[in-house]
């Protein structure tokens, strides 16, 4: 059984290595999560709020634009207008346990060809904590 396991483990390695170099949707090796302190040190960052509209309207990071997946097509043009390739983009959602910011960041990279997109660690909750 051990020999079979080793053979299967090695067999899976070949396509995985190919995917690492040639897959069009391969993940970047660079980490994309940043803390509030790092994000704040970027004076010209474009902040994007990936939460639902009501949460955004209740409160948001000053200057942030709303961009969530529910209203993607309606909201994206304003983001494209505000973006330029030299600006770092910081996406946040509600807390450490939410997923929306990662999904929005991924779509920005894949669909809008944005580079320098980062996800705020801890999201809005972390921002609020440091600004209380």
């Amino acid at each position: 059984m051990r020999r079979q396991i080793v053979a299967l483990l090695l067999l899976a390695l070949a396509p995985a290595l190919l995917a690492a170099f040639f897959h069009p949707r391969r993940p970047s090796w660079r980490t994309d999560e940043i803390t509030v302190a790092v994000a704040q040190s970027w004076k010209d960052a474009l902040w994007l709020d990936a939460r639902p509209r009501d949460a955004f309207e209740h409160a948001h990071v000053p200057g942030a634009l709303l961009l969530n997946e529910d209203e993607w097509n309606d909201l994206l043009p304003a983001v494209l207008d505000a973006w330029n390739p030299d600006r770092n983009v910081v996406v946040y959602c509600s807390s450490l346990s939410c997923q929306a910011s990662r999904d929005v960041a991924r779509r920005l990279r894949e669909e809008a060809q944005f580079s320098r997109v980062f996800v705020l660690q801890g999201g809005w909750e972390a921002w609020e904590k440091t600004h209380r």
Binding site: M1, R3, Q4, I5, A7, L8, L9, L11, A12, L13, P15, A16, A19, A20, H23, R25, R26, P27, S28, W29, R30, T31, D32, E33, L96, S97, C98, Q99, R102, D103, R106, R109, E110
Partner: protein, 136 residues
Amino acid sequence: MKCFARILGIAVGAVFLIAGAMKAWNPAQFASDVQNYRLLTWTSVVMVALYLPWLEIVSGAALVFGIARRGSIAICTGLMLVFIGALISAKLRGLDIDCGCFGHTGPHGITWPLLRDALLLAALLFLLFRETRAPR
């Protein structure tokens, strides 16, 4: 019983094959799903996102076609234990995430995937028990 075990092997292998293919289709998406569990560093996440789908595909295909049967059942059982461990850990920490088990298809949340994986683990343990008891 032999026929039942063969069909069960094909069914479980097919699940792994399909799940692996859906993840391998978009490893960037899968990396994002793995990252949401907050268990690994980003570099480890990328390695998992690139390798794990292919391990699922290779082991699943081996199980479906009855090649290296013992090895493939052992690997699938190990993978299933890891998946269940990750899901339980996410549930205990109250993470509101997608399972990421079949790409982004299926319902949001981790309760249903946990039940499904428990069933698959039971099937794999049955197959492993049969295989290890059967004469070589």
